[in-house]
Amino acid sequence: MSRIVKSPPAEPAPPAAAQGDAGRYLLRPAALADLPALELLAEASAIGISSLVPDRALLRDKLERSLKSFAADDDVSGEEHYLFVLEDRAQGGALVGTSGIAASAGFHDRFYSYRNEYVVQVSPELEARNRIHTLHLCHDLTGVTLLTGFHIDPAHAAGVAPQLLSRGRLLFIAQFPERFADRIASEHPGLADDSGRCPFWDAVGRRFFDMDYPAAEQLASGPQRTLIAELLPQSPIYVPLLPEEAQWSLGQLHPVAELPFQILLDEGLDADTYLNLFDGGPTMEGRLPLLRSVAARRVFADARDAGRSLRQGRWLVANARVQDFRASVCSGPLREEDLALLATDGGPLAAAPLPVGPGGDTA
């Protein structure tokens, strides 16, 4: 085994890059002009984690907050929420997805989760040994950076689009570490059916609140989240005391979130430690430098430098600008038009190898 890597010959692009999607999608900060398109996306039954409500006023607030966040300079406070949109250039730049980043979970307040813990208790006389699963209300994730609101048009769920939509955010975070924590988390919805039945909520939260899950979910997404957390038991919840259905639902993912979950699992986020307070869904968590796209990230001085190096494989490529952030998926060797799309303005670029599929290996 040798670490010498030969300069690749000018052979045809490998199969992974032959999908023709290279350069098709563009990830960029959402603009006010995206409002109608976002509203359409919110109305459509899109795949993903929807924190997108088809309410124009709310969407406008969200957009304006994001614009302010991208515009923030040295004065980042942690309150920033960045909203990205995904353009399909094959459809004239139509908006086909959106995702976000909350700079600091629970900004100005605690961000609560349940942490899985296991206690072993032994009775030598009874020859019995229990490994008891308990849930601890904790605010370990306070201040971490949250990946939020992944949302994609189902027509684009199969190709590189979701990869760009999710992982592109990590390049942005890695590019501007002063705006973010070095610990990343992401909440994913747990099991709940269309009628609003949620086994975890019904077994836990409902005992402390006289409201059903949809009402709680709505409260939980607002400023009352902390208040609600504080009304939950402060002592550990003994899982064996929960109804079986609720026990089974712990850490279970709602099928609608399978795609964004798999992408982040592949990035190396851990899904076994934390649970969402309300629905028991998995809250993933990991250290930024250890995430796959960040660890394998390469930085180039300019587009020419990048062009020279990225000669094969499929790459997530992003510029290093804030308000004019652009990220795309390119196949090596890079084409002029790919690089133009990224609008580097002569500045540096970063690239990370893109895996073939959400659970697959690096191409």
Binding site: Q121, I132, R207, L231, P233, S235, L241
Partner: protein, 332 residues
């Protein structure tokens, strides 16, 4: 089974006035008592030198009730109870106010004296049951007052919890069962009453919210089976109270009191027993009398003639019942 009632210090049978007495259980009583005892009870006679004692209420018709005294519990083997507490979850801004009951495992009554395994003849009428229990308890309290120095400051009585027709405790099924899958009956059979100390090592050590238990388990907390209702009134009348602790296996209530403030204990006096010489009408009531030694308490008609003296009928005095004794009127 009928037993004679010899006077402890004297000889032969005593007069018709004697209603009953308290005395230690002996071997030959066991067949009679066994069916009364709850399944969780200890069925062994205390060792001769043990601090533990086991007493019987004996009437001319035979034994009617029994109780075991443990002078200071929780040392030889740990004893555990749940404390039933309350935590309020309130948010005025949401119009929310939820008092939540909680259970916390602990050894709160360690060092207390215990009157354990209270049992009685279920074939008696309800009023007879209550009377038997009152007699038993009051006689026991007389001995406790006499032997106060050897006892803990607190007195507890554990009551049985609810069980369904199959003998299962809904409280255990709703809580303990999840932490020890074995059969309590089998563990009880194998380890005796100590099984509860063993199983406590497996039970939740942090606060448990009662609302996580099934309805039936919640409803069973601190409840006693109907057959025990006569006992509730007797304990209350003597000043014992449910003090927000329950047993870990059945969720039965634990009654408690400070020994030194119990009315009966405060009423116990060492008095000189003298022969009554009634002038005219002799208003006597029932008194309980015990010697300095031995665990026999006699119930007899007598009259307190001063804080220091108790006048007893001539036939009792003649039978040797005179001089200083520990005394307590039967009536509360």
């Amino acid at each position: 089974m009928s037993t004679s009632l010899p006077v402890a210090a004297g000889a032969g049978r005593v007069g018709p006035e004697v209603a009953w007495r308290l005395r230690p259980v002996s071997d030959h009583d066991l067949p009679r008592l066994a069916p009364w005892l709850p399944p969780t009870a200890d069925r062994r006679l205390p060792e001769p030198q043990a601090a533990e004692r086991w007493w019987l209420l004996e009437t001319p018709e035979g034994p009617q009730a029994c109780v075991r005294l443990r002078p200071a519990i929780g040392r030889d083997r740990l004893r555990h109870w749940y404390h039933v507490g309350c935590v309020v979850h309130a948010a005025p801004s949401l119009g929310l106010f939820h008092p939540q009951n909680t259970l916390l495992l602990g050894n709160d009554h360690t060092g207390a004296a215990e009157l354990a395994d209270l049992a009685w003849d279920p074939d008696l009428d309800l009023p007879e049951q209550a009377a038997a229990l009152q007699h038993l308890l009051r006689a026991a309290l007389l001995l406790l007052a006499r032997d106060r120095a050897q006892l803990g400051a607190q007195l507890i009585v554990e009551l049985p919890g609810l069980r369904d027709e199959a003998g299962r405790s809904p409280f255990w099924e709703g809580l303990g069962r999840h932490f020890y899958p074995g059969e309590p009956q089998e563990a009880l059979h194998r380890f005796g009453p100590a099984w509860r100390s063993h199983v406590a090592a497996l039970l939740p050590r942090q606060l448990v919210y009662v609302s996580f238990l099934p309805e039936a388990a919640q409803a069973a907390i601190a409840q006693v089976p109907p057959a025990c209702h006569p006992l509730l009134g007797v304990l209350a009348a003597e000043g014992l109270r449910y003090g927000h602790h329950i047993t870990i296996d059945e969720g039965g209530p634990v009654f408690e009191a400070r020994l030194d403030t119990l009315p009966a204990v405060l009423q116990v006096r060492r008095r000189n027993l003298v022969e009554a010489r009634p002038r005219g009408e002799w208003a006597s009531t029932t008194w309980l009398v015990a010697a300095d030694e031995g665990d026999e308490v006699l119930a007899l008609p007598a009259r307190g003639t001063s804080p220091q003296t108790l006048a007893v009928p001539a036939d009792w005095a003649a039978a040797g019942l005179s001089g200083p004794r520990w005394t307590l009127p039967l009536a509360v």
